[in-house]
Amino acid sequence: MFDNFFDGRLEMTDSPFVVVEGLHFARGEKDIFRGVELQIPRGKITAILGPSGTGKTTLLKLIGGQLVPDAGRVTIEGEDVHALSRKALFRLRRRMGMLFQSGALFSDLSVFENVAFPLRVHTDLPEAMIRDVVLMKLEAVGLRGARELMPSELSGGMARRVALARAIALDPELILYDEPFVGQDPISKGVLVQLIKRLNDALGLTAIVVSHDIKETLSIADYVYVISDGRVMAHGTPDSLDVDEDPRVSQFVHGEPDGPVPFHYPASDFFSDILNMEKRP
């Protein structure tokens, strides 16, 4: 009996939390994903890296069920996200938190009310308890003192930390970070890196970090996927990627300006372009 119990538990903790299979997605004429396969392990930080414009945010929206793929499936704990009814999807989303690139705080609510928002709409907690939870979450991101401010009075880094507090207000099991480091000064980058790591360790969250800030992301990720051209180009632990032989991977991971991903936008030969007078407008 105990064997069964432990087997079940092992089975549960080992199976990936989110599985993406054969994902195809096109926006207009442009193919964004052509068969992406991902397995997001439970309780770990998984990073998804890729140059800008590869649709990393789109991938998060597909996982969150806001966009519907042309083909393929996204399953979260065995539930097919895109086969759920609208109601079931909203119920599933209560178990997810998402940190948006811009923070996406509700501009007409104060910091306190922003963090309290998910609690107010999804729980019937008394006001005193909501206050305690909100202050706890704000304390975790170090902004308890800023609770009366409006979002317009916050700096970019602070806004993102408030958004993080809001994303964890309902103690989600899965948290999606969309470019958490972009446009931040080094100090707030460091703060965010630490926060993400600490939250993950303390709460046992499953986290997906989408980013192109390689250094910061690799420093906290347990597993990394590199996406390019609509496919998974490489995956592995941060250390294994660092020594990857593939020139495209190494160009991206080490940030070299020219390589398989060209520096120049496709154009005809430079000299003939300069000398060719007739084509001038």
């Binding site: 705080l105 107010r120 709409v121």
Partner: protein, 260 residues
């Protein structure tokens, strides 16, 4: 030539598609379940689109009433019928000018603001994040605004009429010297509450629905960039003005055109 027809066909399909999206959008957001929270959100929007538009609507109403009296007087006095001034002012305000002008002002003052506000929420991912929190933005953001507009515009239209009739009184009676008794009694004998005030209100309700619908849909459906927001705001004003004027003709034909 064939290329042009293809483009025309594609445009037509796009328009139909947008209409379909807008209809679906209206159906989904109009059925918001009223709750205590929802009631308060609605109240806030009534304040925003109604109370804050009151000043511009009332001032415009006053001036329009005054101009109507001035123009009407110079016309009527030639026929010795200046005592019919009250009737003329009241009927033109109640049947046409109040619903139409109030709706146009409303589209410019409140409609464009609604579009820009919702568009900015979309551009800053507030709508997406609300969805991710598990709250339907159609109910939380769009429905209160839709219903607030639906209630606020008819009230503004009433205000417009009242102030306009008073403006006509100021110019006609106080300034041009039309006998006060005939200003009011001619008005009272010719204005029918159901036929004139009521039909004007029906027009106003229709315009309110259409203008707010266009405004919130344009905000919700726009391309989330600064250019997209400015374009959508312009579209809100243009589309709602055209819709109001076009519908006004249709409604007038139905109500006063003798097709009944």
């Amino acid at each position: 030539m064939i290329g042009r027809i293809v483009i025309l066909g594609r445009r037509g399909c796009e328009v139909l598609e947008a209409l379909g999206r807008a209809g679906q959008f209206l159906a989904q957001s109009a059925v918001g379940v009223p709750s205590r929270e929802g009631w308060y959100l609605w109240l806030r929007q009534v304040h925003f689109v109604g109370v804050l538009s009151l000043a511009i609507v009332l001032v415009s109403g006053l001036f329009i009433g005054m101009v109507l009296a001035l123009q009407g007087y110079t016309l009527l006095v030639d026929f010795g019928a200046e005592q019919a001034l009250g009737q003329m002012v009241a009927l033109s305000l109640l049947r046409e000018l109040s619903p139409v002008v109030a709706a146009l002002l409303f589209a410019g003052r409140a409609g464009s603001a609604l579009t820009a506000e919702i568009g900015l929420m979309k551009a800053t991912e507030q709508l997406t994040s609300m969805e991710m929190i598990g709250v339907d933005p159609l109910r939380r953001i769009v429905a209160p605004r839709l219903w607030a507009g639906f209630v606020a515009l008819p009230v503004l239209t009433i205000g417009f009429s009242v102030v306009g009739i008073y403006g006509g009184y100021l110019v006609g009676v106080e300034w041009l010297g039309v006998f006060e008794g005939s200003y009011w009694s001619n008005m009272q004998s010719s204005v029918d509450f159901i036929g004139d005030v009521g039909n004007g209100m029906v027009k106003s309700l229709v315009f309110a629905l259409v203008v707010t619908w266009i405004a919130v849909f344009q905000g919700y459906d726009l391309v989330p960039t600064s250019e997209g927001i400015s374009r959508a705001t312009t579209r809100t004003v243009v589309y709602s003005s055209l819709a109001v004027l076009g519908l006004d003709f249709v409604l007038t034909a139905l109500m006063f055109g003798g097709f009944s």
